[in-house]
């Protein structure tokens, strides 16, 4: 993938991700639960 295309992709995906975390509470909760699962799995 060309650099310019990649940067545009990162910008678009990143912006959509942040907006989803801010304005879709169930999505933010799901992401937190996945992070917690990852942390607790690796803490054992």
């Amino acid at each position: 993938m060309k650099n310019v295309t990649y940067i545009k992709l990162c910008g678009g995906v990143g912006l959509a991700w942040v907006l989803a975390l801010l304005f879709i509470p169930p999505f933010a909760q799901l992401v937190e639960q996945l992070m917690l699962l990852f942390l607790s799995t690796n803490a054992r």
Binding site: V13, V18, E32, L36
Partner: protein
């Protein structure tokens, strides 16, 4: 091909950083903590007035929400009732990460002991006092082991009590607030 792999990894790293920053900022003024991130001032829930409650009900609570001041922030924390009094722990106090993560406990110890605890939707205004009495510590260690470490075996209780005595785990009693002068 290798370039594509790096690009995908880069995108995942970006999303991870964005997630941490966004959720940290989003939660810092929220009414209470989230699963992983500290929250702000506890504002909802009835403010308890009246005689000292029977804290035995905390045996059914895995976490409570605890708000400290200076700066105002709240987190989820274990709770233990022992001998009719109620206690909260703070672990990893001697590790580098603990010193960052448990900043609130150092602030309490340095002179900001007033807290608000929210349990079952009711807010209790309390004052944290660090416990150093070995007899009390043993009772609290027993409850901590029973609730959170799979059972109060003598070895587990001794291990927790040693951790408290050694300063790696701090135990605070949530006392009623002192009368204002």
């Amino acid at each position: 091909m290798l370039r594509a792999v790096w690009q995908v990894l880069g995108l995942f790293a970006l999303l991870l950083v964005l997630t941490l920053i966004t959720l940290k900022l989003k939660n810092q003024n929220a009414d209470g903590p989230s699963v992983l991130f500290p929250g702000g001032e506890l504002t909802s829930g009835e403010l308890y007035q009246g005689a000292e409650p029977d804290w035995a009900f905390t045996d059914d609570l895995f976490f409570i929400e605890l708000q400290t001041n200076d700066p105002v922030s709240s987190r989820r924390i274990f709770v233990m009732e022992s001998g009719g009094k109620v206690y909260v722990p703070s672990g990893y106090m001697q590790s580098f990460l603990g010193r960052l993560w448990k900043d609130w406990a150092f602030r309490v110890e340095e002179g900001s002991p007033l807290v608000v605890a929210r349990m079952n939707g009711t807010r209790y205004e309390r004052e944290l006092v660090r416990v150093r009495d070995p007899e009390i510590i043993n009772g609290v260690a027993e409850k901590l082991a029973q609730k959170y470490a799979g059972g109060a075996t003598p070895e587990t209780v001794a291990e927790i009590a040693d951790s408290v005595t050694g300063g790696d785990t701090w135990i605070f009693e949530m006392k009623p607030r002192s009368e204002s002068p």
